[in-house]
């Protein structure tokens, strides 16, 4: 593909116009949710489903590893391609294997280390947050998990999928590094090559890559749902708070 900035930008913008950002069914984002609490599993499952994700919910780190086929004792015979887990979201505090230990196991695996892992915890302890981010966690969500948290993840996955597609088409080498970026950095579009494609007069970094989709709706797949409250319930975090993990601290009931 041409490396000339102008030509590739033009080509990319054409691609975006024709690019269907709502994934077809077989390309739906598949999330593996791990939580020992049944109440929390029900809630996270619903949060993800209502945000158009396919969900597999398990009650322990061991089961998560078994599902992925990473467990030494009982490995799944299903190939990685069939499972196609796009995101793993796990509770931190679990009996047996903690979310942190699960995170480490996943990042140690050559097959699965590219899958973004998000940690949830009811305790907002900076040391814990830092430890998880250092180990490669993509994000850290303080419980209770809200729709706005899941929306943020969803937007991140959409942008990530878009970037991966671009990469597959053999574009800009820089995009390769984007997959390893922290969520808070990738949400800041002004630092990604894609931001060049949008109005250069855009004043501040977009809150989320949802600027890639049509501005009138939070996500194309939500439009079939008739219930208005979800559409109006965007409550995104403010741009400044995206810069640090503490943005997720429940400071006020601003939702």
């Amino acid at each position: 593909m041409a490396r000339n900035g102008v030509v590739s930008m033009h080509w990319r913008s054409e691609k975006i116009d024709g690019f269907d950002l709502s994934p077809p069914d077989d390309e739906q984002v598949h999330v593996l949710a791990v939580d020992d609490s049944l109440v929390d599993r029900k809630v996270i499952e619903r949060l993800l489903k209502i945000s158009c994700c396919k969900v597999t919910a398990v009650d322990s780190g061991i089961r998560a590893l078994q599902f992925l086929g990473l467990d030494e004792e009982k490995s799944s015979s299903v190939g990685f391609d069939d499972l196609k887990v796009d995101l793993i979201i796990t509770d931190y505090c679990m009996p047996g294997m903690t979310g942190y230990e699960l995170l480490k196991k996943i990042k140690e695996s050559s097959t699965f280390r590219e899958i973004p892992v998000v940690i949830m915890s009811s305790e907002n302890v900076m040391a814990r947050i830092d430890r998880c981010l250092e180990e490669g966690a993509e994000d850290f969500i303080v419980k209770p998990v809200k729709l706005s948290d899941v929306k943020r993840l969803r937007d991140y996955m959409t942008a990530r999928e878009f970037r991966v597609k671009n990469q597959q088409i053999g574009n800009n080498n820089n995009i390769k590094n984007n997959n390893k970026r922290r969520l808070r950095e990738t949400c800041d579009l002004s630092s990604s090559p894609l931001s060049m494609l949008f109005s250069s007069s855009s004043p501040s970094p977009s809150l989320s890559p949802s600027s890639l989709s049509s501005p009138s709706s939070p996500s194309p797949c939500l439009s079939p749902l008739p219930s208005p409250p979800i559409l109006s319930y965007s409550a995104p975090c403010s741009p400044t708070s995206l810069d640090s993990p503490t943005r997720r601290l429940k400071m006020s009931s601003s939702d």
Binding site: V39, K42, R46
Partner: protein, 156 residues
């Protein structure tokens, strides 16, 4: 005429909810649960809350069992139960129950048995109140659905 009954019931529900919010029994997380309920999952809130009740009663029994044992020393185990209780309460927006758990956990961390016993009684009381109010809410919702029956499209 049926519509009037449904409207009145809805008003009753809203009043009850407003009261519970005002009392701090519920917080905005409960509203989140309501947002997750729609035609594709019409009983979501009551399903989750019923799971919560089932789990909570187990936890309360465990906590009482631990404290009633005269030779009780396993505060760590108590802490684990409390963390679970705190987590699920927070997930459904049961603010007051959660806050009592926090105080309970503090007493447990100090190995303060008397404090734990007091906290347990308070916890049982708060939990009972919450459960009664939730049942009231769900009953009103059921009645409202019946009263509004003609307006709702039949689902296959």
């Amino acid at each position: 005429m049926l519509g009037l009954g449904a409207d009145r019931l809805r008003a009753d529900m809203n009043r009850l909810l407003a009261l519970l919010f005002h009392q701090g029994v519920l917080d905005e997380q409960f509203l989140q649960l309501q947002q997750l309920q729609d035609e594709s999952s019409p009983n979501f809130v009551s399903e989750v809350v019923n799971i919560y009740f089932h789990e909570s009663e187990k936890l309360l029994r465990n906590l009482r069992g631990l404290l009633m044992d005269r030779e009780f020393t396993d505060y760590k185990k108590m802490g684990i139960h409390l963390n679970q209780f705190m987590g699920s309460s927070s997930s459904i927006g049961a603010k007051r129950v959660r806050n009592v758990c926090v105080a309970f956990r503090a007493a447990s961390e100090q190995n303060n048995r008397a404090g734990c016993l007091r906290a347990l009684e308070l916890l049982e009381h708060e939990y009972c109140y919450l459960k009664n109010k939730m049942h009231e809410l769900f009953q009103l919702e059921q009645q409202r659905l019946l009263a509004a029956g003609v307006r709702y499209p039949m689902q296959n």
